[in-house]
């Protein structure tokens, strides 16, 4: 492609500046980002992770993929050559940068990048995408804002303070075990700019440019990230059963609900980890798990000690399609990174005999999220328990943004009965769900090739 300025013509899309020549000042990486990346993605399971722009089944040479991985945490500082026209000083507001730790999990974010890079900038330049801060490990951030190849280096901004730069896109697409995770990997802008200043100090010819880099404004950067998330998110716990782990939600100080496929056997011992308000691990045992034949994939765990300080969510009584919702779960990283928050809407409420029996959302849901809570984003009330996302068995494609939850209204009366009396009979009714409910949860359709639920 020829990127030299070309004669003006009838614009198809928006008007653009002609491309301007620039020089590379330096390449830089954020050491803390690299350290967290190595911890989270560089374990024995590293081969499960890919960050290539191409889908896992596409052919990408090993060298090319290795180059991409090496460069993943590297950024570049450029200086555009002056154009000789009026100085650009007056154009655009001054950039502000959010300090690391000042943005909480679940905070809405706006990503701005150019899909496919320099391809058709009049069409694709500065495409916007909304999401939330899903997770954080130091300056390594994850968002569920959907980004595309070519948006690497694009800015990610917060609404408060207005237009503050939170991060830059490091890898728009993440794949784990050949499944698209639906999260975008970011590097926090504050530490990156600090690294740029430190690097410039070693380069006398351009050291003065450090004074022009935007500085962090806002809350102190010493705030602990773990404590910064919506209060309702703290009800999510990690449930470990042998080598299997999944998510769960605290329904009482000593009672956790999860999925049967996470804690499959009654009387089995499980370890429940809570990340907030403090990191604790408490043993418990499964007091109830639905039978394999039950459409409801549910297990109830009784703990040996109270989950101190963990908020008990308020269950909703009614569902409204289109409600903003959040899924909190330990998908993707397990214990290594605390729970992830993903955002979306309640996309469908499936009813049988006017009773909700299944919820669908547009939140990104990954393996390990099973058993986690589905909350109303605005009220923090509990809507359901995540049970599965979707895989098309014909193509192998996983759809993290189509997922299924068990409405809390299905469980709440039985849980209350158990909590008050120790009587499990209400929960046992879940094994006797009517055939139409079984049909819904089997995703039975006339066509034989429909996607099947799994997680």
């Amino acid at each position: 492609a020829d990127l030299e300025p070309c004669p003006a013509a009838q614009p198809r899309g928006r008007l653009l500046q002609t491309p301007r020549a620039a020089e590379l000042l330096l390449l830089l990486s954020c050491p803390a980002f690299r350290a967290h990346f190595a911890r989270l993605f560089g374990s024995e399971a590293a081969e499960q992770w890919r960050f290539a722009s191409a889908a896992p089944e596409e052919e990408v040479s090993g060298d090319e993929e290795e180059d991409q991985l090496r460069a993943l945490g590297w950024f570049a500082l450029l200086r555009v050559q002056p154009c000789g026209e009026a100085a650009e000083a007056a154009h655009g507001p001054a950039m502000t940068v959010a300090p690391l730790g000042a943005v909480a999990k679940g905070t809405p974010l706006l990503a701005c990048g150019s899909p496919f890079g320099a391809f058709c900038p009049d069409i694709f330049l500065n495409t916007l995408s909304r999401g939330v801060l899903s997770n954080a490990a130091g300056p390594l951030l994850l968002t569920d804002a959907r980004c595309l190849p070519g948006t690497e280096g694009g800015g990610v901004f917060a609404a408060r303070p207005a237009g503050s730069l939170v991060a830059l896109v490091a890898a728009p697409l993440c794949w784990k075990a050949r499944e698209w995770v639906g999260l975008t990997l970011l590097c926090a802008a504050g530490p990156l700019l600090r690294a740029a200043r430190a690097a410039l100090a070693h380069l006398p010819d351009i050291a003065a440019l450090a004074a022009l880099l935007p500085t962090e404004v806002g809350s102190p950067r010493s705030l602990p990230l773990r404590g910064l998330s919506p209060p309702w998110a703290a009800a999510a716990v990690l449930v470990e059963f042998g080598s299997v782990w999944g998510s769960g939600v605290a329904m009482a100080p000593r009672l956790v609900v999860t999925c049967r496929h996470v804690a499959p056997r009654e009387a089995a011992k499980v370890l429940v980890h809570s990340a907030n308000p403090k990191s604790v691990a408490i043993w418990g045992h499964v007091v109830f798990a639905t039978q394999e034949a039950s459409p409801y994939d549910i297990a109830v765990v009784s703990l040996e000690e109270d989950l101190d300080g963990v908020p008990i969510p308020k269950p909703v009584e009614h569902f409204h399609e289109g409600t903003a919702v959040s899924v909190v779960g330990f998908g993707v990283f397990g214990q290594a990174c605390g729970p992830s928050v993903t955002s979306g809407i309640l996309s469908a409420v499936v009813q049988v005999d006017n009773t909700p029996v299944m919820l669908q959302t547009t939140c990104a849901v990954h393996g390990g999220s099973s058993g986690g809570p589905l909350f109303s984003t605005h009220s923090g009330d509990l809507l359901g328990i995540v049970a599965s996302n979707t895989r098309d068995n014909n193509t192998g494609a996983t759809y993290p943004h189509l997922n299924f939850s068990i409405p809390i209204t299905v469980l709440q009366p039985a849980l209350q009965q158990y909590l008050q009396t120790g009587d499990l009979s209400g929960l046992r009714e879940l094994d006797r769900a009517a055939e139409p409910i079984r049909v819904v949860w089997r995703l039975q359709r006339p066509q034989p090739t429909v996607p099947r639920s799994k997680l």
């Binding site: 492609a1 002609t18 990486s29 991409q68 090496r70 993943l72 590297w74 890079g117 320099a118 058709c120």
Partner: protein, 110 residues
Amino acid sequence: MRRQWGPTMRVAEQAGCVVSASRAEQPEAGLWSCSGVILSRNPVLVLCHGGIFTPFLRGGSGTLTAAGATFLPGDSCGDDLRLHVQWGPTAASPAGRSEQGRPGLFTPSC
């Protein structure tokens, strides 16, 4: 969305840009590009992803993983590196239009 995000969208769109890298002597050999953020306007300083520079590193991509390397000066890339930055219209600047080459991307009917 506009009311809450209006100021942020304005900042994001004014700061957003696209960065292209090619070889001066062999532009046909390939074009690498990514997104970027304009950090400063006078002079114009841009922060973008480093991945597009990998093919131009004198020491190869291994330079990026050399022990302790947290930055590399600009001359770590070969002299034939040519960079261009493009951004959207700003109030007082003449606007043009670029006709880009077409990579293998098309828009199939859904």
